[in-house]
C-alpha cells in the first residue's frame, strides 16, 4: 500500500478474528489492530486530527510550540507529527509511566515535564494548564476536550469497523480521554441501533486513588455517558492475565490496556453465550506490548507481575 507520507498511513488497520478466545462460532471476538498505526498506537488518529484541525483554524503555524498532558501514547503520536510539521513539543507526563515511553518521546525530540504520580493524569492536566497560563504562546490541543479527537474516530475508526463487521453487536474500547468510545460509539449507534458500546477502565492502586483531596480532578469534556451501554472497571490482575491470554492463544502482543479491554469483551461474550444470542464483538488493540516490557508484565508468576504494577499508571 503506497502513501504520500507517514501521516497518510494512519488508520485502515486490520480487524482480525480471535477464533481461539471466541466462545463459539455464534459469539465471535474481533480485534482492531491499532498498534499498526505509524507510531504504534490508536492515538495517531486523534493526534493527527487535532493537529490538522488546529492548523486549519490558524492556531498552529510553523515554529509553534505544542504543549500536551499525556501519559504516553498521545505524546508519542504528537512527537512524530510535530517532527513532520515543524513544531516543538512539550509533554507533561506522570512520573510513574513506563521507562520506554519516556525514551520514545525523547527519541522523537519531545521535551518532557514530569508531574507527580499522585493523581495520575489529573495532576498532569493541572500542571499543563498552569504552564499554558504562563505561556499563552503555547498551543494546548487538549485531547480530553478537543472535539477533533472524538471526530477522528467518528470519521475513521467507526466506518472502518462497520465496513469490516456489518453485523457488529458490541464495541469495546478503553476509557481514557473517551475519544475512541465517543466517536466510534456515536457512529456505530447511528448505523447499528441496539449496538452495545462498552467502556473498559483501568482500576489503579492506592497511589492513584489515595488522595486527600482531588481538587485538580475533572471529567474529560468529551465524556458523554449516554453514548455508552456499559462501563467495566478492570483490575491490574485481570488486565495482565488477559494480555497474556491474548499473546498465548491468539499470538497478539498487546499492551496492558488492551488486556483490560479484552477482559470486558470476554465478559460481554460470556453473557451473549449464556443467553444463547449471536454476537459480533469488536475490541480495540490500543498498542503493542513493547513499551511495557520493562514492567515485567509478560513473564513469570502473575501475582509478582501484578505487584510490580502497583502504583503505576499501567494503562
Amino acid at each position: 500500500m503506497r502513501e504520500p507520507s507517514l501521516l497518510s498511513a494512519i488508520g485502515n488497520t486490520p480487524l482480525v478474528g480471535l477464533p481461539t478466545l471466541s466462545p463459539s462460532p455464534q459469539v465471535r471476538l474481533w480485534a482492531k489492530l491499532e498498534d499498526r498505526n505509524p507510531t504504534g498506537s490508536v492515538k495517531d488518529r486523534a493526534a493527527a486530527a487535532m493537529v490538522l484541525d488546529a492548523e486549519q483554524r490558524g492556531l498552529l503555524t510553523p515554529g509553534s510550540t505544542i504543549l500536551e498532558p499525556t501519559s504516553g501514547n498521545t505524546g508519542i503520536s504528537l512527537a512524530m507529527i510535530a517532527r513532520l510539521r515543524g513544531y516543538r513539543l512539550i509533554v507533561v507526563m506522570p512520573e510513574n509511566v513506563s521507562a520506554e515511553r519516556v525514551s520514545l518521546l525523547r527519541s522523537w525530540g519531545a521535551e518532557i515535564i514530569a508531574s507527580p504520580a499522585e493523581g495520575g493524569s489529573n495532576t498532569a492536566v493541572a500542571r499543563a494548564r498552569q504552564i499554558a497560563a504562563d505561556h499563552p504562546e503555547y498551543v494546548m490541543l487538549y485531547q480530553y476536550g478537543n472535539p477533533a479527537n472524538a471526530l477522528a474516530h467518528y470519521r475513521t475508526t467507526g466506518p472502518e469497523i462497520l465496513a469490516d463487521l456489518p453485523d457488529i453487536t458490541h464495541f469495546v474500547a478503553g476509557l481514557g480521554t473517551a475519544g475512541t468510545l465517543m466517536g466510534t460509539g456515536r457512529f456505530l449507534r447511528e448505523h447499528r441501533p441496539g449496538v452495545q458500546i462498552i467502556a473498559a477502565e483501568p482500576r489503579y492502586g492506592e497511589t492513584v486513588y489515595g488522595l486527600r483531596n482531588v481538587d485538580e480532578g475533572f471529567v474529560p469534556e468529551l465524556y458523554d455517558p449516554s453514548v455508552l451501554t456499559g462501563r467495566v472497571s478492570v483490575t491490574a490482575e485481570d488486565a495482565v492475565r488477559r494480555t497474556r491470554e491474548l499473546l498465548d492463544r491468539e499470538g497478539i502482543f498487546a499492551g496492558l490496556s488492551t488486556g483490560a479491554i479484552l477482559h470486558a469483551a470476554l465478559a460481554a461474550a460470556g453473557r451473549a453465550q449464556r443467553a444463547g444470542e449471536a454476537a459480533e464483538i469488536a475490541l480495540i488493540v490500543c498498542d503493542g506490548g513493547w513499551k511495557y516490557l520493562s514492567t515485567g508484565a509478560y513473564e513469570g508468576d502473575l501475582a509478582t507481575a501484578v505487584a510490580r504494577l502497583s502504583g503505576s499508571l499501567w494503562a
Binding site: S121, N122, G176, R212, G217, P220, S233
Partner: protein, 103 residues
C-alpha cells in the same frame, strides 16, 4: 454470605480504617443504607439526591451501576461493591467533602 463493600482510601476515616465492610441488603441502595448504619455519615459521600454522586463511581462486581439500575440494582450474597473516586483515564473529581462539586 453478605455483600462486601470495598472502601476507597479517602473514605476509610469513616470506617475506622477498614478497607472492606460486609453488609446485607437486597439492592445497592439497601447495601449503602446498611453501610451507613454501621458507619454513619458515609452514605452522603457516595449518594446524593437518591443517585450515585457525580464524582463517585460505584461498581457491582466491576460494572458501573449507572449502566445497571443505579441504587435499585439487585445484589446477591457474595457480590462485591467497589466505591472509587472517579480518576480513571483522567476522570477525577472531589470525593472528600460533600457539597463541594468539582469543576
Amino acid at each position: 454470605m453478605p455483600v462486601t463493600v470495598e472502601i476507597p482510601t479517602i473514605l476509610r476515616p469513616l470506617t475506622d480504617g477498614a478497607k472492606t465492610v460486609a453488609v446485607a441488603g437486597q439492592t445497592l441502595g439497601e447495601v449503602i443504607d446498611a453501610l451507613n448504619s454501621a458507619h454513619p455519615g458515609i452514605a452522603e459521600r457516595i449518594v446524593e439526591a437518591a443517585t450515585v454522586r457525580r464524582f463517585v463511581n460505584v461498581y457491582l462486581n466491576d460494572e458501573d451501576v449507572r449502566f445497571l439500575d443505579g441504587l435499585a440494582t439487585p445484589v446477591a450474597d457474595g457480590d462485591v461493591v467497589t466505591v472509587l473516586p472517579a480518576v480513571a483515564g483522567g476522570q477525577a473529581e472531589r470525593l472528600g467533602a460533600p457539597g463541594h462539586p468539582a469543576a
